[in-house]
Amino acid sequence: MSAAMSRAAIRIGPEDFDPAAELAALGSAGAVASFTGHVRAEPGLVALALEHYPAMTAREIARHAEEAQARWPLLALRIVHRVGRLEPGARIVFVGTASRHRRAAFEACEFLIDYLKIRAPFWKLEERGDGNRWVEAKESDDAAAQRWGR
């Protein structure tokens, strides 16, 4: 890590988060962009159970945070990803970025959520009235990440 690296805060765990507190922690240096993902309400869906590979999750997310900091002039970034059982409407993930200008904040935020989707080792099990089903990976997520050129 060089001295130029911005502040990065990464949290993985079952606890909910407060988007307003996360945004406030990103500061007010010019531009703050964020993404918050929720469990979509779908017919028959009772809850999602999120499982992960803790040692690898930490490393993958840290690696992509470093890459975002190398590609864009970020002042801060925050990533929160929940695990465990989450009901429809619950928050799952937060990615927030701060920079002096909007383009870097927007692009870094999109890059981070796109890579989180295809590289971070999380798996979602849908709990439905008629049984449980693992969520399948989507090709559109691969395509979204590929536009970042790696």
């Binding site: 040692a55 993958e60 693992w134 990976a137």
Partner: protein, 85 residues
């Protein structure tokens, strides 16, 4: 001569093998050879490893292709394509 590696399973791979992890002694030089060794155990392992195209692998917490080499004491994980975010 076999080598002992630490193998982890996640999501439906864990459900089919019936365990989240174990130490495996196998004469396997690559991730693919280890997967084939596990498939040959039959039962839930044969189901879990029936189609390697449905699986992904990591060695020491990094994504790798199935042709990646493995060494004694490595941590090797098998799992479906990830679905976080």
């Amino acid at each position: 001569m076999g080598r002992a590696v630490n193998v982890l399973y996640f999501a439906w791979v864990r459900q089919k093998t019936g365990t989240s992890g174990e130490t495996v002694e196998a004469d396997a030089a690559t991730v693919r050879a280890l997967a084939e060794h596990l498939r040959a155990r039959g039962g839930g392992y044969a189901e879990a490893f029936a189609d390697l195209a449905r699986l992904r692998a990591a060695v020491n917490q990094e994504h790798v292709p199935f042709d990646a080499a493995i060494a004694a004491d490595d941590e090797i994980a098998f799992f479906p394509p990830v679905t976080g975010g």
